[in-house]
């Protein structure tokens, strides 16, 4: 439990820093403050990039769009996946079966292909959301569907049926709350997936455009000068890894929290 709180705290801090970092940046992230590729300490704490801009300020300012878009994408994918999973896990009707088939078809299409096609056709953030929903919600749907099927016959659901609760109430008041840990864990994985997609698209040039500050874009821009100022590449790479790592750790603990601790 305490480790869960620690992981949640780290995730909260990293996300808050990423979203609000631009406001605490010591300098204007797009202003030229020194010679190109100054080493850390010479100009600013983390040196400068190829155009002489402050790396620290750009790292602080460069996460908000990336993280917010990924959060939005994860939220959309989880909501759609959970709704579909509850529906298909609960009923065996025609709608449920066609929904499952649609999800399976989506799963068969490579996610990166969807992402690239979407990125060509529309702005980067929309592409991230669409690709995460197309690639992620079928996975969520599958997991939630199986869990719902198991819960359908659980004692507490039958007790609720015996006192007169009907389908929609059973799903939202009994089944869904009992799956909180699972859904939280799954949402965490979708967030990690969205962050990876968003940074991959930026790295390929489909996301944020120069002179914007963006972690993935910074890695690409500063790679040629990494011999002079390695911090220009390492700093954005590390914060990206920290956000994804903290999200994954929180998700893993959330998944274990509702575990009843059965010994198989």
């Amino acid at each position: 439990m305490s480790r869960f709180l620690a992981a949640t705290g780290v995730l909260g801090a990293v996300v808050a820093l990423a979203v609000l970092g631009g406001h605490v940046a010591p300098r204007d992230p797009s202003a030229v403050v020194g010679p190109p590729y100054s080493a850390p300490g010479e100009t600013g704490l983390l040196g400068t990039d190829g155009l002489g801009r402050d790396v620290l300020s750009r790292v602080l300012a460069g996460g908000s769009d990336l993280v917010l878009v990924s959060l939005l994408a994860a939220l959309a994918a989880t909501t759609i996946g959970v709704a579909g999973g509850l529906l298909t896990g609960w009923s065996d009707g025609w709608t449920a079966r066609s929904l499952i088939s649609a999800a399976d078809v989506l799963l068969a299409v490579p996610q990166l292909l969807i992402a690239l096609v979407a990125a060509v056709a529309m702005p980067g953030p929309a592409a991230v959301v669409i690709a995460t929903v197309c690639g992620g919600s079928p996975l969520t749907l599958r997991v939630v569907r199986d869990a719902t099927r198991l819960t359908r016959g659980a004692g507490f659901v039958e007790a609720a049926r015996c006192r007169g609760e009907r389908g929609p109430v059973l799903l939202t008041r009994e089944v869904l709350p009992s799956l909180t840990g699972l859904v939280t864990a799954d949402a965490g994985m979708r967030f990690v997936m969205a962050i990876q997609l968003a940074s991959a698209l930026s790295l390929l040039g489909f996301g944020a455009q120069p002179p914007e500050a963006d972690w993935a874009l910074m890695i690409r821009e500063n790679l040629p000068g990494s011999g002079l100022n390695a911090a220009g590449v390492l700093a954005p790479a590390l914060v990206l890894a920290a956000v994804a790592g903290a999200a994954a750790a929180t998700a893993a603990h959330a998944g274990r929290r509702t575990n009843t601790g059965r010994l198989a």
């Binding site: 439990m1 004692g155 039958e158 015996c162 709350p177």
Partner: protein, 478 residues
């Protein structure tokens, strides 16, 4: 032979993450050839002790101090303990149905046990527990009754002849005949292994154990729950009646074939019968959870639909079921008080605050004062069972269908629950109780026996004396 001690547990204590003591320092020693029973009130930490010994505590609990050694060698936690569990220890948990992988057939489940038993050992283990190995061989856990699942899990624990056998409530779902088989089996294996048994059943521990350890609470010997039957508060009119019920499982023949039953207001009726004989199915059919294929149900003389979804709100409220398995009886997301209050709100239309107050009263009545704020994961199996009883009562039912509700409880709690049921019966509640416990059955107004898919009404107000002769080999309807 080897004179080294078997299992030595030296002052192990269990704390939760907040540092609260869940189990105070406990020591015990079990030698080869010895059977040690552990008893105590529910919630005193019996299961926690077993899990601490096995180094398999649930999340949030840690073994704060103490050591476990096997044959004078310390079993370190982590990987050595896992290896020790896999090769040396046969373990039967309190929730056998949950411990069986639903995807595997019975023979594979038993083969998972310590010592990797072969087909011959598997077959003999199943048969020595009174199970028909041929019939069950390919069944999956979903197709087993509560008592059969418990015996399959038991067979898994002992088929490979482990040197240490740890059993948590091994008899909670077993009838008297099968109980005798378990006693014989433990006696026959005694010389080859060390055994720890957790049980509430004093008669059982008295028969098998060399020593009885009492955990927590003060030692007191409550009178047998069987002392004295209830006075005649039964009134003649049937509140729930079933005629010629036929209930089947898909893929198998009918479990109930023309079962008829009349349950009177204020009556406590007990259903006895073989495990796997359809007792649970009967209750579920009456509750509407497992609709009968044919037959007629009547509530207060009016037609009662077989399907739950077709019953009116008043009919739903009137018939409440308490299920056998306390492990998944409560929603893990809600505190006990919330679960109970929700039923009072939905079924009886009480206001939020009135429902809360009523839930508190009911939890106190079942012997769990102050449990409102606890989540199910903080409650033991017996405590969850009592919350489930309170939840069913919160609906204000006319008929209570209770499936083995006393099996997870210690004697004191059984007395409390039976006393509560007595009071409620005095106010006109009809109770249909499935049980294996003869002492509980002795308190009933009427004993019914489910045999071959039919209910034979036993003579009113007496225990069925022929119970001892009911062999475990009684044929069960296909």
């Amino acid at each position: 032979m080897n004179d080294a001690p078997g299992l030595t547990v030296d002052g192990i204590a269990v704390h939760d993450t907040a540092g609260n003591v869940v189990l105070p320092a406990t020591s015990l020693r079990v030698d080869r050839g010895e059977i040690v029973a552990i008893t105590g009130p529910s919630g005193c930490g019996k299961s926690t002790l077993l899990r601490a010994i096995l180094d398999a505590l649930p999340d949030g609990l840690t073994r704060a101090e103490g050591a476990v050694s096997w044959r004078s060698e310390t079993v370190h936690s982590g990987r050595p303990a896992r290896r020790w569990r896999r090769h040396t220890v046969g373990f039967l948990g309190q929730d056998p149905a949950g411990a069986l992988n639903p995807a595997h057939p019975v023979h594979r489940l038993v083969a998972e046990g310590p010592g990797a038993p072969g087909p011959f050992a598997i077959r003999s283990a199943l048969e020595r527990l009174g199970l028909d190995a041929d019939e069950l061989w390919r069944r999956r856990p979903g197709q087993l009754s509560g008592g059969q699942a418990q015996r399959v899990a038991f067979a898994r624990a002992m088929a490979g002849d482990p040197e240490l056998l740890i059993l948590d409530e091994p008899t909670s779902a077993l009838d008297t005949g099968t109980l005798g088989l378990v006693v014989d089996l433990l006696a026959a294996r005694r010389a080859r292994c060390a055994t720890i048994v957790v049980s509430h059943d004093r008669a059982f521990t008295g028969r098998v154990a060399d020593r009885v350890l009492r955990l927590g609470g003060h030692d007191r010997s409550p009178g047998s729950p069987g002392s004295g039957s209830r006075g005649g508060t039964v009134s003649g009119d049937a509140v729930l009646s079933a005629s010629r019920l036929v209930v089947g499982h898909p893929g198998r023949g009918p479990v109930l074939e023309g079962t008829s039953l009349d349950l009177c207001r204020g009556e406590l009726a007990v259903v006895l019968g073989e495990s796997g004989g359809g007792k649970t199915t009967l209750l579920r059919a009456l509750a509407g959870l497992h609709p009968a294929a044919s037959g007629e149900l009547r509530l207060d003389g009016g037609h009662l639909p077989a399907r739950l979804g077709e019953r009116t709100r008043r009919q739903l409220r009137a018939v409440q079921l308490i299920a056998q398995n306390p492990a998944d009886a409560l929603n893990p997301a809600y505190r006990a008080g919330t679960s109970v209050a929700r039923t009072a709100r939905v079924a009886r239309g009480l206001s939020r605050s009135a429902a809360r107050a009523h839930a508190s009263e009911l939890l106190t009545a079942v012997g769990l004062p102050g449990a409102d704020r606890h989540f199910p994961r903080e409650l033991s199996g017996g405590q969850r069972q009592r919350v489930a009883i309170a939840r069913a009562l919160a609906a204000g039912p006319d008929v209570l269908l209770a499936d083995e509700i006393t099996s997870a409880l210690d004697e004191e709690a059984v007395l409390g629950v039976l006393g509560l049921l007595d009071d409620l019966c005095g106010n006109g509640l009809a109770v249909l109780l499935v049980t294996h416990d003869r002492d509980v059955a002795a308190r009933a107004d009427r004993t019914l026996r489910l045999r071959g898919g039919r209910l034979d009404a036993g003579p009113g107000n007496t225990t069925d004396r022929s119970e001892d002769t009911v062999a475990a080999h009684d044929t069960i309807a296909p």
